[in-house]
Symmetry: C2
Subunit: 434 residues, 2 copies
């Protein structure tokens, strides 16, 4: 297509062709202004009705907001213009006219509820503060991958269509796969474990996971992005070290590369990269601290899982990212290894943002007999998982790893109220489209 | 866990703890050698039976191949050792014993058919030449993403659970989604288009796609990795430029960062980065050249699609990556725009490796009325796609893009015979596990 200059790059004293969306139309009688918006920002187009060609004036004044125009003209300084420059057009072409009635106002002057925004994501992402979230999300993914490579981990892709789920048949979406029953994978857990036993030893994957949970909360999705890590010859403490490195790298990447986006979101001063080591509380310390807050109606006792309220009370008390370690074995999945010196105590850990859980991990059970026993105790048929367990008979090293919720990382980093704000096209019980 | 030294880093004159798999056991009577293998390479462990502690000798000689050991000892130069160094052990710990019977020989001395290899991928990826493929695959993804960022494209993630497929209900895997019918997405096509109309303007996605095609060939998968790109204000020629940049970047990344892997694969001399512009043949030129080869039984005429045989004949003739442009509109999808001056001629293009198609792309139909008409002509209900088409009423700029098969890129780059060799756990009609 024709050479195009971005709004932010249009230098006064040059002639340029800009292209973008009509953000605003201000008709002051003898003069009118079109504010054109593109991915880099805005630029003012001046329509002096008596000075310009009549057809051109007509074209300019006939367009509706959010139409796409190409404008060719001279760029000049104009301090009263929103960005200090304006274009006097020689030519205006309406590339894509917009209907006069918009389902959503991208200028943000009219508020819209989240469902309306999600139904009209194309228009919603024309708002700089919504676009900024997804530019930051992309930077989070970039910096996380770089951190993984810094840890010598190899990127893998594992299948999303599977014969069995990680933890059995519950909470799985069934698929018809050439006449056979299959499922959408709820976690790459089993596959990444199979890879630490291979020559790769240390792997990561960032990909979709699918959970048929009937949640309806601001922090659950039925399709989410899981950031997974697993390493041979790591124990749970080394896995926690890696987790801290990766989460900090995400914050550092955003701090370094997303100045404009943070400013757009009003976070440029509030945004801080977590410093120092994340505190590591044992489960026992955690329930003591929760009980000491007096925030809960009931006193927690050993063996209780932590409710959302308990997590909130603890998160407020700790006030930064932290780990909870040494959980009771019975409330952690069977594929997490217990401590060698105490079978009641799991090497499983969670990494928490003050407002919610971000990561779940641990050292894995790598001993074939213990693993098969775990399936049985869970009421699962070890035979259905033989493709996985049999590899543990051929030299499966001790290993540890974790899964980090990608959307929760973005949500907590930016203080979003609803996890759906961190996904372009979220999937929940009600929402299957767009 | 204890400090560990990689085999490749064990320096003569130091004492070290190495950990890995028993690659080979050579018992020569008074002396035995264990070859230990880890992700970096191999190291010899010397067992002088009269010199070492009896229990230690017993431990060492009792292990089976592919067991995981931790060996602590002094590292010395030994020119007769496979890597020029060997360890005299002070301590040997069997971390994970392996069964004596292996379903696959990771030393590669016993050949295995692909199905056996895929059933035992953990063992298969212990072979350096298989591991190398996936290290290269990871580098391809890294360098492709970097190239996209160089093109100012933003990474997006779009849903894999969808209400409707890109081209209707054929070739889709059905899902049960909270009692509703849904599908696994066959392409991010519609979603990436919706995003070029947003403030992002230029986007890329690397993610899984799912196609219920009943193929059974060495170059089709039912779950594959699609590398997708789409840009507002691009025409098909600019999309082709971007495609060339990205594919070259993948080759350049591998050439720069995968020396060892290419050597392992015996490709270090044969591997070349494509140079110069990829030739751009029109469809008309393509069929003329194919007919001129005389390789086909039938003469191709305008309107014929290109069979695998036709592609092979042309690929051999051209001998490098190339584009085929200006296809007859009737054999390209309806969402591809026709040339403005000739409705019989599509802006769709394919990018070909001499051995197969890698990329399909084009400028898209961005005019709402033409798009809706396209759905109708295709026999699809435009109403089912309204979540998509309606956004074209609110300022959808002209745009173009393409989708590149990730596995085909790796397969053709490395000359693999079967596309399944480029996927850790491939999915095809028969294979659903592991």
């Amino acid at each position: 297509m024709q050479e195009r200059t971005y709004a932010a790059d249009a230098d006064p004293g040059t002639s340029a062709t800009v292209a973008g969306w009509v953000h605003e139309i201000r008709d002051l009688g003898g003069i009118a202004f079109l504010i054109l918006r593109d991915t880099t920002g805005k630029i003012q187009v001046k329509i002096e009705k008596d000075e310009l060609d009549e057809a051109l004036v007509e074209t300019a004044l006939d367009v509706h907001r959010e139409s796409v125009l190409r404008v060719e003209g001279d760029v000049e300084e104009e301090e009263r213009a929103p960005t200090g420059v304006e274009v006097t057009p020689d030519d205006i072409e309406v590339i894509a006219p917009a209907d006069p009635e918009l389902p959503l106002d991208p200028s943000g002057k009219v508020d819209a509820e989240l469902p309306t925004r999600l139904d009209n994501r194309t228009l919603d992402l024309r708002k700089p503060e919504v676009k900024a979230i997804f530019e930051i999300r992309a930077e989070v993914l970039r910096s996380v991958r770089e951190a993984f490579r810094g840890l010598d981990a190899t990127e893998i892709n594992t299948p999303k269509i599977v014969a069995t789920g990680t933890e059995g048949g519950t909470e799985l979406f069934p698929i018809t796969y050439f006449g056979r029953e299959a499922f959408m994978n709820q976690s790459p857990q089993l596959f990444k474990q199979l890879m630490v036993g291979s020559g790769l030893e240390r792997v990561f994957e960032i990909g979709p996971i699918f959970r048929a949970e009937e949640h309806n909360t601001p922090r659950h999705l039925n399709e989410a992005t899981s950031i997974d890590f697993e390493s041979a010859f790591y124990d749970h403490t080394e896995a926690m070290d890696a987790c801290e490195t990766v989460v900090k790298a995400a914050y550092e990447g955003v701090a370094e590369n997303c100045d404009d986006e943070l400013e757009t979101l009003g976070l440029d001063e509030a945004f801080t990269v977590p410093e120092g080591d994340f505190p590591r509380l044992t489960y026992e310390e955690a329930i003591e601290r929760i009980n000491a807050t007096g925030e809960l109606d009931d006193v927690l006792v050993w063996g209780d899982d932590l409710s959302t309220e308990a997590e909130h009370a603890l998160g407020q008390d700790v006030g930064e990212h932290y780990f909870i370690t040494d959980w009771p074995s019975e409330i952690k999945p069977f594929y997490i290894k217990d401590h060698d010196d105490d079978a009641e105590l799991s090497t499983g850990f969670d990494m928490m943002h003050p407002s919610m859980e971000l990561v779940s991990g641990g050292q894995r059970e790598h001993r074939h007999d213990h693993l098969v026993e775990g399936f049985e105790q869970q009421g699962l048929d070890p035979g259905a998982f033989e493709y996985y367990t049999k590899m543990f008979k051929y030299g499966m090293p001790p290993h540890a790893g974790w899964g980090l919720g990608g959307e929760r990382l973005v949500m907590t980093m930016l203080g979003l109220e609803n996890i759906r704000e961190a996904v372009i096209f979220p999937r929940d019980r009600q929402r299957l489209s767009p």
